[in-house]
Every structure is written in structure tokens, then in C-alpha cells.
């Protein structure tokens, strides 16, 4: 017997919904069987907390007197994108200040950038603004310097074009020199292996065929409420999958949107990646309505059922060779060491599992106390039948 989202929402409103996290459901289903559990359980909650490039925030300052049509602007010395409208700006998470030495003194430290700016904004801190314009008859003001907090501006919403990767590379270094990557420092000759996924708690790994997750799905985003706006950039549903339908490499992604004014700095953290740059660490939790047994079965996925590709970041990744050295499951990755060939390699996480657990528990609490209702997606994310593929650049270039 199938449930509907409306039926589940009625139970949530009455405070009677049965909710488990994607970690807890594994044991529950094992003890009580899939059939009984599917009948009894209404929602399974997921969570992930890791650096997510392709993040940013739109803000609308409100108009100055006299009006100004801003052409360039810097917030806390970080340039923001102004080519949208007079006082609409986009803060890109990976933007660094103009005067940052970057990697001139290698490895650069990247202490501040767009991600930190978003965190400061959400934390209610004062933000310095400098802006320029050429001036028009209707927008005469040419220069602006001042400061503001999030309360002083009209709108602020997070809009991240690509978050929440469904599975990800495990990064290693086959070269002879230490390298600095967005997956951390990689010591030469397979000195370490860094991985970045919440595994069995990760949202898209618990609904691998996007049976319930789609455009319009209401989610936990940055400590507040957000929505899935579209499939994310580089969405790649057609990659090889294992017998549990779980992609064996990076595949599905989502674009997410939500009101920054409801979010919390604990769940949107500016991130300084030595030798690489800045980013934003984003907290996302997606509820999965247990409408039937098939959906439940997918949420019972365990770390040992999910494999990730081991990729060399000294040559193969930068040169887009596509080579995968090995495939390792997350239970082994979380044991602290893996075997590659005849070498034992220590493993380290880049995303935070304890924080992913916390997100799944917060979302569970919201659902149990009627603070959060589920939405029916208006359209499912494109699956493998869509033919959508993440292709290398097809244009001409030198």
C-alpha cells in the first residue's frame, strides 16, 4: 500500500509522524523487515556538511538617495557580481579579495573570501561596502562607501548552482611532490587518501534514482528552510551504478535556494583551503518520504554498499584522463586505512560526518514537532533516461 505526501503531512501536523535518520533506518528495517517498516515509517532524514563550491548569494541592497546603478562593488574587499540590475548583487563563494596574494607565496592561505563574507552576513556582522558607477540621468550617484548588516538590506537569498554531490572522488597523489588540492594536502607516493561524502547519510545516495527528490523539494539549507531549484550544474545521472543503483562516482547534483535571513552561521561556514582558495561549507538535509517499500529500500543503503572512485590528483585529475585507480567502499574509508595495490594508505575525511548526523537529527526533530512540512516535487530530477551527461568543454580553445 502506498502512502501519499498529503497523508504524511497530516501526521506531521498532528505531531505523529514516524521519522528516523538514514543511519537509524538501517537497523530498524533489519529488525522489523522492509514491509512492516515501510508501513510504519513516514520519513527518513539525511544530512551532509562539506565544502560546496558553486555556492553564492543574491542580495538586493535597496536604493540609495540619490539612486545608483552599481557597476562594480566590493563587500569587505571581496568583489561581487553587479551585472544584474542597479542594486542586485551576487556574492560568489570562491571569490578572493583583489589584493590577496593567492598562490604567489605558495601555498596561499586564503584567509578570507566570498564564503567568509556569506558567513559574516548570516552572522549579522557589519559588512563594508565600496561601489562604483558611471552614472545615468535616472541613477546619478557614482560612488558609495559605507557599511550594513543583513537587517539593513531588502533581500538576501542563497542560490547555489551545484551542491550536494551524489558520491565523490577519493583523492590520492601518485606523484613525487606534495600537492595542495581542494580535497586537502596530498602527500606523495600514495601518502594519504582524502574522501568527501557523508556516505550512508548523504541525501542523494539515499534516493539514488530521484524517486522523491525533485524541483520544489523543501529541505534543510544552511540551518534554515530551502528548496531544490533545479538539477545542479554538472548533474551526471548516467554514470555507472552498482547493484543498489548507487552511482560509482560523482553523479547527481542539485541547485538550491533559500532565504539567507533564516539561516545560521553554524551551517554556512567560510572555508580556507590552503594552496587552493576559498569556498563555502554548506549544511544540507533532505527528507525522504517513505511512500512505498522501494523508496524505503533505497534509504537502507549502508556505507559498505557505496563505493567511491580513487583518483590521482597529481596527473589524472588535472589532465582529465578519467582514470580510476581503485574503487573503495565508505565503510573501509571510514576505518582509517585502505589498501591500494600492496600499500596501506591512511584515509581522512574532508566533509564532517558528526555535523551530517546533527543535520539529520535536527530535520528529524522539525518533522516530529510539526515545524517542517514535506512538499510534492513539481518535477523529478533528470535520471539516466534523460540522456543528460557531464561533458568536457566542447568549444574551441588553445
Amino acid at each position: 500500500m502506498k502512502k501519499t505526501i498529503d497523508e504524511i503531512n497530516e501526521k506531521i501536523k498532528k505531531g505523529k509522524a514516524v521519522v528516523f535518520t538514514a543511519e537509524e533506518i538501517i537497523e530498524v528495517a533489519k529488525e522489523q523487515g522492509l514491509k512492516n517498516t515501510a508501513k510504519k515509517v513516514d520519513v527518513v532524514t539525511t544530512g551532509t556538511f562539506g565544502p560546496m563550491c558553486s555556492s553564492g548569494a543574491f542580495i538586493n541592497l535597496g536604493h540609495t538617495r540619490p539612486r545608483m546603478r552599481i557597476t562594480r562593488a566590493w563587500l569587505n574587499d571581496v568583489e561581487v557580481f553587479c551585472g544584474i540590475a542597479a542594486v542586485d548583487l551576487y556574492i560568489g563563494a570562491t571569490q578572493i579579495p583583489d589584493n590577496d596574494p593567492a598562490n604567489k607565496e605558495h601555498p596561499g592561505r586564503f584567509r578570507y573570501g566570498g564564503g567568509h563574507l556569506i558567513e559574516d552576513l548570516v552572522a549579522g556582522k557589519k559588512i563594508k561596502i565600496k561601489a562604483l558607477s558611471y552614472g545615468t540621468d535616472c541613477y546619478p550617484k557614482k560612488e558609495l562607501t559605507g557599511e550594513f548588516t543583513i537587517k539593513d538590506i531588502n533581500d538576501a537569498f542563497l542560490f547555489n548552482p551545484r551542491n550536494c554531490y551524489q558520491n565523490y572522488n577519493v583523492a590520492v597523489n601518485l606523484g613525487r611532490e606534495k600537492i595542495y588540492t581542494y580535497l586537502g594536502i596530498l602527500k606523495p607516493n600514495l601518502g594519504n587518501a582524502n574522501f568527501c561524502s557523508a556516505g550512508q547519510l548523504s541525501p542523494l545516495l539515499n534516493d539514488p534514482e530521484y524517486l522523491t527528490i525533485g524541483i520544489g523539494t523543501r529541505i534543510f539549507l544552511g540551518g534554515g528552510i530551502g528548496y531544490i531549484a533545479w538539477h545542479g550544474t554538472q548533474h551526471d545521472p548516467s554514470v555507472a551504478r552498482n547493484k543498489y543503483s548507487v552511482p560509482k562516482s560523482g553523479s547527481g547534483t542539485i541547485a538550491v535556494i533559500g532565504d539567507l535571513k533564516t539561516m545560521k552561521p553554524e551551517w554556512l561556514r567560510g572555508t580556507s583551503i590552503i594552496g587552493y582558495g576559498v569556498s563555502l561549507t554548506v549544511g544540507i538535509g533532505i527528507p525522504i518520504p517513505i511512500l512505498d517499500e522501494d523508496i524505503l529500500k533505497f534509504t537502507c543503503i549502508k556505507d559498505s554498499d557505496i563505493v567511491a572512485p580513487v583518483v590521482d590528483y597529481s596527473y589524472d585529475y588535472p589532465n582529465l584522463t578519467g582514470r580510476v585507480i581503485a574503487e573503495i567502499d565508505y565503510a573501509t574509508l571510514k576505518s582509517g586505512k585502505i589498501r591500494i595495490g600492496n600499500k596501506t594508505v591512511p584515509t581522512f575525511p574532508i566533509s564532517s560526518y558528526p555535523k551530517a548526523q546533527k543535520i539529520s537529527r535536527i530535520l528529524k526533530n522539525w518533522l516530529q514537532t510539526g515545524k517542517f512540512l514535506l512538499t510534492e516535487p513539481v518535477q523529478r530530477l533528470p535520471g539516466k533516461e534523460s540522456g543528460i551527461k557531464f561533458r568536457p568543454f566542447q568549444g574551441r580553445y588553445k
Binding site: T271, S272, T281, K355
Partner: protein
């Protein structure tokens, strides 16, 4: 702002008679406290464990100066402060910590810090993406 730092100096025989600590005080306004000392006897190398207090800039300059003389320096600290509030428990510090003072508990994926294992290399300070590891300020 002044900081304090424990440093082990190893100096070769030819420098044992030079008043190096005096020069640190005079040139870089460093306040020092001798915590441990070993005068060269057999191997000809002297060792000093100093606590230096001064501005970051002056401490950096003194370390440069010591290096230029041929003195090997290595920091010794229990001065690393781990801010649990800022830490998200990723494992980046543990991936570069040479003495496993920072480590991830397998399966649970919780980060732990054992200060007594810390050799004070300060590598974690440079790599922490969330500015959750700091030096103790005086």
C-alpha cells in the same frame, strides 16, 4: 599583540660561546625564559629550550636570525588551542599532524586532540579551513 612560544634551539659547537639570547633581547625586544638547557659536552652541540614572548613579527624575525646563524630551531608547544566551537570535525588537521595529536576516531569519525602528543610544529594551524586552531595568546 604579544604571543608566547616555546622553542628548542640546537646550536653547533662554534656558536656555543656566542651570547645569542642577549642578541634576541637587544635586537628584537624578546622576553625569554630558559626552561631547559644542555651545555655541549660530547657531541659538541648545545641545546636550549626557551619560551619567547614578543610580537609575532619580532618572534618571526628572531627565528630567521637564529636560522641565519646556523642554529636549528623547532617549536615546542602545548600552546595549540583547539576551538571546538569553530571546529566542524573534518579531518584535514589529522591528515598532516606528524605526531597524531589530532586524529579521527575510525567509524565514529569524531576528531580528537591529545595535547601531550603535540610537538608544536603548527602545521595544523596553517591548514585548518575553519580557523579553529589557534596559538595561545598572552
Amino acid at each position: 599583540m604579544e604571543i608566547s612560544k616555546k622553542i628548542v634551539l640546537h646550536f653547533p659547537e662554534n656558536l656555543v660561546e656566542r651570547p645569542i639570547t642577549y642578541e634576541l633581547v637587544k635586537n628584537y625586544n624578546i622576553v625569554f625564559n630558559i626552561l631547559k638547557a644542555k651545555v655541549a659536552v660530547d657531541d659538541g652541540e648545545g641545546m636550549l629550550l626557551l619560551e619567547l614572548t614578543g610580537t609575532q613579527n619580532n618572534i618571526d624575525k628572531s627565528l630567521k636570525y637564529l636560522k641565519s646563524l646556523g642554529v636549528k630551531t623547532e617549536p615546542l608547544t602545548r600552546d595549540i588551542i583547539w576551538s571546538r566551537q569553530d571546529c566542524i570535525m573534518c579531518g584535514i588537521c589529522s591528515s598532516i599532524c606528524p605526531s597524531h595529536a589530532f586524529y579521527i576516531v575510525p567509524e565514529q569519525m569524531i576528531l580528537k586532540f591529545e595535547p601531550e602528543k603535540c610537538i608544536g610544529c603548527e602545521e595544523c594551524l596553517k591548514v585548518c579551513p575553519y580557523n579553529a586552531i589557534k596559538l595561545k595568546l598572552m
